[in-house]
C-alpha cells in the first residue's frame, strides 16, 4: 500500500534512547520512534493512570503535564522528550500520599462517575489553576472544554475547580 516496506521498516526499527523525568524520578529508556508519550507511560512505564480515550487528541483523557504545561500525551511523540519533566496523575499526590486539594475537591463534589476521564480532567484543571488564577465558572467551562466527560459530571468538576480556585480546601 504505497510504502516500500523494507526501507520503511529499517528506518523505524531503530529505537531512540531517552532520559527524562517522570513524576520526579529519572527514567532511562529506549523507545520506538513512533511511540507516543501516552503509550510510553502506559505500556513502557506501567503508569496506567493516564487513559487512552481516543488516541487522536480529541477527548483529553490522556492529559499530562510536560515541563509544567498541559499536554495531550497521545499526540506527543515520546522521542522528542529527552530531558523533559513529565507529571502524570500518579505524581499529583504528595510523596507521603497526601492528596492534592483538587483531588479531595473532586471526591467531595462527586466530580466523576465512571472515573475514566478523571485523571485527564484533574491534570487539565491543575494546569488551569496556574494558567488563570481568578477564573469564574464560565471561564473554567471554556478552558476545560478539551476534556470530555461522557458521564456528564461537568457540574461537579466545575464546582470542584471553583472550590480550589477560591481556596475552600
Amino acid at each position: 500500500m504505497g510504502i516500500a516496506p523494507d526501507t520503511a521498516s529499517e528506518t523505524v526499527r531503530r529505537n531512540v534512547s531517552l532520559r527524562l523525568t517522570v513524576n520526579g524520578e529519572e527514567v532511562m529508556i529506549d523507545v520506538d520512534p513512533r511511540r507516543s508519550l501516552l503509550d510510553l507511560l502506559r505500556d513502557g512505564l506501567g503508569l496506567t493512570g493516564t487513559k487512552k480515550g481516543c488516541d487522536h487528541g480529541q477527548c483529553g483523557a490522556c492529559t499530562v503535564h510536560v515541563d509544567g504545561q498541559r499536554r495531550l500525551s497521545c499526540l506527543q511523540s515520546a522521542a522528542q522528550l529527552n530531558g523533559a519533566e513529565v507529571l502524570t496523575i500518579e505524581g499529583v499526590a504528595g510523596p507521603d500520599g497526601d492528596l492534592h486539594p483538587l483531588q479531595t475537591a473532586f471526591m467531595r463534589c462527586d466530580a466523576l462517575q465512571c472515573g475514566f476521564c478523571t485523571p485527564g480532567q484533574i491534570m487539565s484543571a491543575l494546569a488551569l489553576l496556574t494558567e488563570n488564577e481568578g477564573a469564574d465558572a464560565q471561564e473554567i467551562r471554556e478552558a476545560m472544554s478539551g476534556n470530555i466527560c461522557r458521564c456528564g459530571a461537568y457540574n461537579g468538576i466545575v464546582a470542584a475547580i471553583m472550590e480550589v480556585a477560591n481556596g475552600a480546601d
Binding site: D39, G53, Q103, L112, C114, I148, G152
Partner: protein, 720 residues
Amino acid sequence: MNGNERSLQRIDALDKVTGRAKYAADKKPQDCLIALALRATMAPAQIVSMEVSTARAIPGVIDVFTHMDRERLRWTSSPEIDALGAEHLGREALGDPASKGPAYRPLISDEVLFAGQWIALVVAESIEIAREALALINVELLPSSPRPMAPIRPGPFFAGDMQYAFDTASTSGPVAVCQRETYETPMQLHQPMEPTATTAIWDGENVTLHDSTQGVQAARDYIAASLGIAPDRVRVLSPFVGGGFGSKNQIWPHEALAAHLARAIGRPVCMQLTRADMAVASGYRSQTSQIVELEADNEGRLVLLRHDNHVQTSLKGGFFEPCGLNSLLLYKASRIEVSHQVTRHPISTPTPFRAPGETPGSFALETALDELAYRLGQDPIELRMQNFAERDHYHDREWSSNDLAECYRLGAERIGWHHRDANPRSHERNGRLVGLGMATTAYPAPALPATVRLVLHVGGSLVLETSATDIGTGMRTLLAQHVIDTLAVSPSQVEVVLGDSRLPNAPTAGRSKSTASVLPAAAQACRALLAALDEIDPHPGGNLALHERLARAGHQDLTVEGRSSGLSTDQELSFYSFGAHFVEIELDERIGRVRVSRVVSAMDCGRVLNSELATSQIRGSITFGIGMALMEQAVRHPTSNRILTDNLAEYAVPVHADVPEIDVLFTNKADLAMNALGARGLGEIGLPGLAAAIGNAVFNACGRRGRELPLSAKVLCGQA
C-alpha cells in the same frame, strides 16, 4: 436535597482521582500482545483476495488472522453462541428469514456486511508494530449488490407490542384539532470515554478476561460457548468500567476473539477497540423516522394518538429502536395506534443506548404535544394533565406509584414557568431570544433476581460480594451505604467487591434495574447475617460489635447470602419512573447559536437512596439529551456506507461549555410495592423527553419548530 436520604461519598472516588482504578486495558501483563483489526472500507462487499505475507514478515508481528484462519483460531458460528450475543437481540421479534440464519461474526466468511467490519487481525508485540503491519495488508473488495429485503413488521419487543391499536376507556369530545407530522432522530454513538477492551490471559485450561462489560456473567457465558469450554473455566473481571450507556451491556464478538487469539498464540492478548471501532463494533442508536398523528377535542382531550415508526437494523442482526413503547401508555387518548416497521441495511447492528426506544420516541411524542398545545392555545403542562393516565391502560393495571403531577408542579415552580409567555419571540436577554420548554419522561422500572454474599471477619471487616458492575452508576457506594446503615458499622470496615463473574449472580448494569435488583438482595443479606449471628451467639448483650459477637462465638468468619426475586413481567401493577424536564435556552438567531442556559428536572424514581449519586446520574442523562438535541449525529457515506464521523472531533458530544448548572429535584416518595426500600432505578429516566424540551424551548424562543435532530440551522437561524 429533599427527603431524609443520606449521601455516602462515592467510595471508589479515591481510586479514580489518583489513577489507581484499573480498567480492562490497564491490566496488561508483561508479555501481553496487542491485537488490532483491519476494517473493511465499504459494504456490502465480498473479499476477493487478501495478501498478508508482507505484514506477517515484520519483526514483532506474531500472527495475522483472516477468515481463512478460523480453524487455527477454532473460531466458529453456531445458534448457541449467537443466542448469547449482542447480534441476536431482537431477532425473535423480527422473525424474518435473515433472523433465523447465522448472526454476524467477524472472520467467519468472505462476506462484508458493513463498513468497518473486521476482516483481518494483527497480533504484535507493540501497537506501533501492529499499525505498521495493518498498513501492509492488501485487500481486494468487490462491491456486491444487496438483495432487496421486504420491510419487517416486528412482533412484541421489550415487553411491549410493536403493532397495536386499541380503544381506551377514556372519553373525549368531537375532534377540534388534528395534526400529523414527521419527526427524525439521527444515528447516535454511545462513545463512552473508555474504548471497550478485553485482555485475555490463559492459565492452563482456564482463561481470565479483564473486560469492559456491563455484565460479567453474560460475558462469561458467551465467551465460554465460543471457546467450547465450560463456563466455570472462564473468569471475567470488570471491577471498573469506563462508562457503557448500553454499548457494553450486550456481548460482542471481540470479547471472545481476544480469548481465541490468546489460546491460539499461547500468550496474553489485549484487544482494545479504537475510537473508530467503537462506532461499529459495539452498537449505536439507529436513526428513526416517526410519524405522530394527534386528534384532540377543544379541551385538549386526545381523541387519537397514532405513532408510526420507521427504524433500521443490520443485514443479519435484530436490534431496532422500539420508539412507540411510551405512546402505548403515557397519555390517555380515546384511541391509540402504534406501529413499527424495520428495514435491513448494510450497516452494523445497533444496540440499546440509554433508554432505547423511549429516547427517540419521546422526542416525537413530546414535540407533537407541544405543537398541539400551541394550536389549542393551551398550556403544555395543562394539556398533559388533561390527558394524564391515572392508570396504565395498555397493560390494564394500576401504577405502583406515579408522582408525575408533582414533578410538573415542582419543576414549573423552580424554573418560573408562570413567567413564560406562550407566544414565541416574547423573551429576550442580552440581544438573544430566550425560550422555555418542557416535556415528560417515563421509563420502566424492572428488577431481576440477584444474590449478594456478605462475609463478616473476626477482625472486623465486612466484605460484600456480587457480580454486579459499577459502570459509574455508584452501585459500589449504594451497597456500602446500605451495609453501613443497616448493620451500624463504620465505612472503613466495609469492602465491596464487584465485577467478577465468579461472585454471586446479578443482572447486567442496564435498563435501570440494578438498584432495584441488587439492593433488596443486600438488604436480605444483612438480615441473614444478623440471624446467623443470633444463631451462633444466641445471647446478645454487652453492646458488642458484630465481629466481637463472632469472636465470642468462637468463629473466624461468617458467610451468608441474600437473594432478591426481582419482578416478574405478569405483575398486578405497572412499575414505571416518571419525570418532567424544564429547559431554558438562549438563541442568537443571527448565527444560529443556541445555548441551554437552565435545566430543571423533577423526577419520580421512588425513594432516592443517595441523593448525590442520583443527582449525578440524572445530570448525566440530561447531558446526553443536550447532545441529542443540539449536536450528536453520526453520518454515513452515501455509497460506501462508512461512518464518516467515527471519532470525537466529527461526532460532537457535549463538553463543559455546553452544559449549564443542572437542577435536579426528586419527589422522593417510596414505591413500597416495588421493594421494601421503595427504590426504583434511575439510570435512564433523565434522558427521554430532554431533547423535546429543548426543541420546545427553541420554538418558544423563535417560533420555528424543529422536527429533526439535531436542530438544524434552518430552525436556529433567522432574521435578527
